[in-house]
């Protein structure tokens, strides 16, 4: 196999002239990070709520929460994305669907991808939060109730402050996954990293350079996230618990 390596290709200007191919990679990186972080906010909020609801004594509430988890866990991410992008706008009430269709394409892609990725991940976050709550000794909840707290107060002051700290290490891997999963948004045309890799191949005919660069950028994201989460874990770890230090 003879292949002409050409690393300086990244410094060439793109056909439209306003930036270099390296600039394209920068744009892709920005979209990947923006998309993943926005989706992560949704995943934490919705997943936290659903995870709590799965542990409450109310049957209807915990059933609804279970339905949420099973629905978002048992349909492939790609199918969910296409449903948000192609199906939801047709079915939404109150003219929301039409409003969606009138937005510019980039906003449409971004909105669909954020909702999809956020809710997809929320089901996984919910499972971790539920496991975190269930891992607490039963006595903590009883003690809260015995002190005269209502159930919501017990959750607010006793259970959740513990559970959210315990759950941070397992959430790290979900946080890493959301960055990787964001690559799926390439299928609806969002110009995130893996889309830029394909564009670079099309425009420069230097596939290996393009793919190696993008692969390295994904690894860089991974290492950065792991580093930050380690520091966060150290800051919030519960003394006396496994992995909680002294």
């Amino acid at each position: 196999m003879s292949y002409n390596w050409n690393w300086p290709v990244f410094l060439q200007t793109v056909p439209s002239g306003e930036t270099t191919y390296l600039g394209w990679l920068g744009v892709g990186l920005q979209w990947t990070v923006t998309l993943s972080l926005s989706a992560w906010v949704i995943a934490l909020l919705v997943g936290g709520l659903i995870g709590v609801l799965r542990t409450v004594p109310s049957k209807p509430l915990s059933f609804l929460a279970t339905c949420h988890v099973e629905l978002f866990r048992n349909v492939p991410l790609l199918v969910q994305l296409f449903v948000w992008y192609f199906v939801a706008p047709e079915l939404l009430p109150f003219g929301w669907g039409d409003a969606f269709k009138q937005m510019n394409p980039l906003s449409q892609q971004f909105l669909a991808a954020v909702l999809c990725l956020g809710l997809f991940t929320s089901a996984r976050v919910a499972e971790q939060v539920r496991a975190g709550i269930l891992s607490l000794p039963r006595g903590q909840q009883n003690a809260g109730l015995a002190l005269g707290f209502t159930l919501p107060q017990t959750y607010r002051y006793v259970i959740l402050p513990m559970a959210f700290r315990i759950v941070i290490p397992p959430l790290t891997s979900e946080f890493l996954n959301i960055f990787k999963n964001s690559a799926v948004a390439t299928t609806i045309g969002l110009i995130e990293l893996s889309r830029q890799a394909q564009q670079l191949v099309d425009y420069t005919a230097q596939p290996y350079e393009a793919f190696i660069a993008v692969t390295l950028l994904y690894m860089l994201i991974n290492v950065t996230v792991m580093f930050l989460m380690r520091r966060l874990e150290k800051n919030v770890q519960v003394p006396g618990f496994i992995g909680g230090g002294k």
């Binding site: 866990r73 349909v75 492939p76 296409f82 890799a197």
Partner: protein, 225 residues
């Protein structure tokens, strides 16, 4: 909501969808079988006392686990045809299918190897010592004593990973391969019935994955006793 559903294009599409499902299953099963074999090799290598071997295996696993599956599929779509051309010459028909098979197998092996490594480490050290004391070589101890016990503990996790893999095969969409999802999407586009076809595909995936995961859950409980 004022969308007029029209499900009439689905019955006629069923044979094509079945063909797509066959592709999905072929990729899934191949990646499971070879992925577990290769994953076992990687796991044993990672636990090896030979530093270089362990380092290489760890590098492989970490590389694949830090890159999105979409990228890996595109990578192999790029590399495999070149390789096959240099081996067999031009004129291979469905390169996309082969490259998807290779991509999924090598990618899943990294994930399987982590499950298997945890399984091996969950077998108590005394078992290894007993094996060695009986005069078995380290290789024999691994093969005859540690791995059988490790695999029994791992079955639920391996099955759960298989369900994830089954869902992930839909990503071959990025190289235009007609698996179950790709077929549904194409038919939806052709008939202008993308809403119905996507909902149908989602429902099929849901029913299959939900029943399988319920089965795994029950199985997990049974062997837990």
């Amino acid at each position: 909501m004022n969308y007029d559903f029209d499900w009439s294009s689905i019955p006629g599409a069923l044979p094509l969808l079945a063909k797509g499902m066959a592709v999905t299953l072929e990729i899934t099963l191949t990646a499971i079988v070879i992925g577990i074999l290769w994953g076992t090799v990687l796991a044993v290598a990672r636990l090896s006392s030979n530093r270089t071997v362990a380092f290489l295996a760890a590098g492989y696993v970490n590389l694949f686990r830090s890159v999105p599956l979409v990228m890996v599929i595109l990578w192999f779509y790029l590399i495999v045809p070149q390789l096959l051309k240099s081996i067999f010459g031009e004129g291979l028909s469905d390169i996309r299918f082969v490259s998807a098979l290779v991509a999924f197998t090598l990618f899943e092996a990294a994930y399987y190897s982590e499950i298997i490594r945890a399984g091996i480490q969950s077998v108590s050290k005394g078992q290894v010592n007993a094996g060695l004391a009986l005069g078995l070589t380290p290789g024999q101890t691994m093969r005859l004593i540690v791995l059988p016990q490790a695999f029994r503990n791992m079955v639920p996790l391996l099955l759960t990973q298989a369900i994830i893999l089954f869902q992930d095969t839909s990503l071959v969409y990025v190289i235009g391969l007609a698996d179950f999802f790709g077929t549904a999407q194409k038919i939806g586009d052709r008939d202008g019935r993308i809403v119905e076809l996507l909902l149908f595909a989602g429902a099929v995936y849901f029913v299959l994955c939900f029943s399988l995961s319920q089965f795994v859950k029950r199985f997990h409980k049974r062997i837990g006793q």
